[in-house]
């Protein structure tokens, strides 16, 4: 769906659900995922439909992912970093200390 105009000279390496991907320095996680061809980052916890980054400005909360173990991060507001472990968001947020 998206194609980069220029391939980054020094790509940032990260993973999505264990798959190695690359991004340009300064990309948001959402932009990096879209540029890498990712079409679905989670399922709606209400209706089960596939979800992907949408507004890209922090408002719609559709781009939620788990980053380095932290759930429900807004990928459009998070800059991608070398070695980042991004996972598709699985269900609703689980609370610490919950039995």
């Amino acid at each position: 769906m998206f194609r980069r105009l220029h391939e980054p000279a020094e790509p940032v390496r990260f993973t999505f659900d264990g798959r190695p991907l690359t991004a340009a320095a300064g990309d948001t996680v959402a932009a990096a995922l879209l540029a890498a061809g990712v079409r679905e980052v989670r399922r709606s916890v209400v209706g089960g439909e596939p979800r992907a980054p949408y507004c890209l400005m922090g408002v719609c909360f559709d781009c939620l992912v788990t980053i380095d173990g932290v759930q429900n991060r807004q990928s459009c507001l998070t800059e991608v970093r070398e070695g980042m472990e991004v996972r598709s968001q699985q269900g609703r947020r689980r609370l610490e200390g919950a039995e």
Partner: protein, 404 residues
Amino acid sequence: MTKPAATADMATAGAAAAAAAAAAAAGDRPAPLRGDWDVAVVGGGLVGASIALGLCRSGLRPLVLDGEDLDLRASRANFALVWVQGKGVGAPHYALWSKASAEGWPQLAALLRETTGIDVSLNQRGAFSFALSQGELDRYRDEMERVAAETAGAAAPYEVLSHNELRDRLPAVGPEVVGAIYSPADGHVNSLRLLRALHAALPALGAGYRAHHRVERIEPLHAGFRLFGPWGDLVVPRVVIAAGTGAEALAPMVGLRVPLTRSKGQVLVTEKCEPFFDYASATIRQTDEGGVMIGDSEETGTDSIAARADISAVLAQRAIRVFPRLADVNVVRSWAGFRVKTLDGLPVYEQSARHPGAFAVACHSGVTLAAAHALTVAPQIAAGALAPDLAVFASRRFDVPPSA
């Protein structure tokens, strides 16, 4: 989060805009509303829509005239509780009225589901009032005892729980919670879905609905009433004023009174979380979809619609003291709303003595009382007179001179 209701409203707004454009093309003024409406309901929030629903079931054809999207709308800001606990201190009729409405709620929810297919997620497992100090717990207990005594035991049952007793039922509560009141009579719904369900039910049952039809003036006629707004005017045989904070100005035009006081509340909503609290409370509830709503602030001296960060911080702090696991949960929305609060906090139900076809319905608890409004008050309005037991809610109670 608020998308379903917003979408429904935009659809109505779009239709209204198209109608207005057509009217503007036809002449310099929108054509008068036509149709054989039996009664106009001024206000399309939870109260107006619940009343209109009940009027339809009584065989009338109501027309609901609603205001602008950006009007003060308690129906889109509320906390969605079906709440009885502690209500009616010094006013046993209000305690019993709230209890009766909560008991009627399963019927209303079933009616909405049958009519529209929409499940409003009614949950009446009961609710807790969490006390963060012994003083708070004593005050809650005192209120519950007073309501029980003043209703001669007819009020909803309750229990006073110590910290340990509470912890046995809700392991997630924090060490700072001294205790709680629990009452099985309380519950909550998905409030935006409730508003949407009511608005879906109205056309299905024969009611009319007009967005962007704010009523600015009501003129009593020899028979009936003429309603005026920027959209034009309309003559109807009867009128019900259910205009929320707008009722105060409209009521005197037809010999009614709805004296209101300012009451602003703020609500925080978190990201959707795994279920951890399957009850309600006055300050914290987890919605059926997982978001945690945190609320119950009150400011009385302001007109500002903005939410204040310092108040949000207090709400969040108290919520974390009750449920420490909320500490690192993200807040995704916050908003402020104005309650429709009468001078004594109790509802006003009134029929105009001078113009008997005019009624006023105003209350703070549009969710709790939705069942009473649809199933009890509306049939009385349809029959032409409020029942004598509602006379205690008429505005003449405000005429009592203050004691020395």
